[in-house]
């Protein structure tokens, strides 16, 4: 087990940069092979405790990383990056992942220039009024998708359409919000954030 003695866990949602400490043993850098580096996709990720833990199953990590990158970084068309990050942040706020929320709230602020609105989501929770129909619709859809059993239904589609999203943008909301139900569960259960 990793020593967790030096962890200083955050107790509120924040846009500050946080660290993350694993509860079980990541692979040591010295033990990484070509198969592991293929799994890491970006060689620099070998410096991250989180990715050196996930690389214990390199094939799953590689496929997961490539899924993630296309859902969030492929902005040739579809939903603006800021709103994909908003979906990620809202999902993380609702599931309770302080680490994931910090990263993606920060990205949402960077791409939207609406830091105060993003902070309101973190401070007040997913019921906060973020000031426009489009952002509220993205948050509501993300929250409905994160519920178990899943609460996402025709009303969410109607709300997204009324806010001006087309079908391809709605698919980006579904992908981005759904992906964070994957990410949140890993970050929350394999280790913890530290200030």
């Amino acid at each position: 087990m990793s020593a967790a003695n030096n962890v200083n866990p955050p107790v509120v949602f924040t846009q500050d940069e946080l660290g993350w400490v694993s509860w079980i043993d990541p692979l040591p850098e010295a033990e990484l092979t070509a198969r592991h580096f293929a799994g890491l996709v970006d060689r620099s990720r070998s410096k991250s405790e989180y990715f050196r833990l996930l690389v214990r199953d390199p094939e799953v990590l590689e496929a997961r990383t490539k899924t993630d990158k296309d859902i969030f970084y492929n902005v040739a068309d579809g939903l603006p990056r800021a709103e994909r990050e908003l979906a990620a942040a809202a999902t993380s706020r609702y599931n309770g992942c302080i680490y994931c929320a910090s990263v993606h709230a920060r990205f949402a602020s960077t791409y939207s220039k609406r830091r105060d609105d993003v902070q309101r989501l973190l401070d007040e929770g997913v019921g906060a009024d973020l000031g426009d129909e489009r952002w509220n619709a993205v948050v509501n859809a993300s929250v409905a998708l994160a519920a178990t059993p899943i609460a996402f239904g025709p009303d969410n589609i109607d709300e997204l359409r009324r806010a001006g999203l087309d079908d391809a943008e709605i698919v980006d909301v579904i992908n981005g919000a759904s992906f964070f139900n994957w990410a949140n569960r890993l970050m929350l259960s394999l280790g913890e954030p530290s200030k």
Binding site: V11, A177, L186
Partner: protein
């Protein structure tokens, strides 16, 4: 890819439909969601998590989401896996015992504590523990936590899995499995709802 795209199949997306065209704009995501599925259910190395353990956990996780079409798919998968058919009934009984609504759980002590929400702490029934075995019993209890109250997760939960015979690598694969299924069931449900809103050209056999 040899296997038909599993998300398209479960969401009822027909080739040539408008949702098929939209999905094609995120081809890397579509292909790698499929590769994630294949890496989890047809791994090159099943040494740390057996195929029957993967299939049993999958049925349990999807059953807890109360998505009948997908649960049917994973029930058939477990039944078709070596040594799996004997577990189907026990898993279905445990799903019924574990049903609740989430997410709930506790935040770190502090200002967020007002948002703490108590709920079911699921434990496998004593009668079915011998049938499932120590590893699967521990896995179901942890999977239930991941599905409904992920913010409750603590270092002690890792110790419980290690004590039940899970390796570090096995815990990573098993956690990825539960987390991936949490993604897959939402993409499928979301696309099915969107498809239904577009009419019969997209929504085939949604249930």
């Amino acid at each position: 890819m040899a296997t038909k795209d599993i998300i398209d199949t479960l969401a009822g997306i027909e080739p040539g439909s408008s949702l098929d065209a939209i999905r094609a704009r995120r081809l890397q995501a579509r292909d790698n969601a499929q590769k994630s599925y294949l890496s989890l259910f047809e791994p090159i190395d099943a040494g740390d998590v057996s195929l029957v353990e993967r299939a049993a956990v999958a049925l349990f996780v999807i059953g807890l989401h109360r998505e009948p079409t997908m649960a049917g798919f994973y029930r058939a998968k477990l039944a078709a896996t070596a040594n799996g058919a004997r577990l189907v009934e026990a898993v279905d009984v445990e799903i019924a015992r574990g049903e609740t609504s989430g997410p709930y759980g506790a935040f770190p002590d502090g200002p967020l504590s007002v948002e703490n929400e108590a709920g079911l702490i699921y434990r496998v029934s004593a009668e079915r523990k011998p049938e499932l075995g120590a590893r699967l019993a521990a896995a179901f209890e942890h999977a239930h936590l991941l599905v409904f109250r992920p913010r409750d997760a603590a270092a002690a939960d890792m110790k419980a899995l290690l004590a039940a015979g899970w390796s570090n690598t096995g815990i990573v694969t098993f956690s990825q499995l539960v987390a991936f299924l949490s993604f897959q069931v939402r993409v499928v449900t979301g696309l099915r709802v969107l498809g239904a809103s577009l009419g019969s050209a997209n929504a085939a056999g949604a249930g």
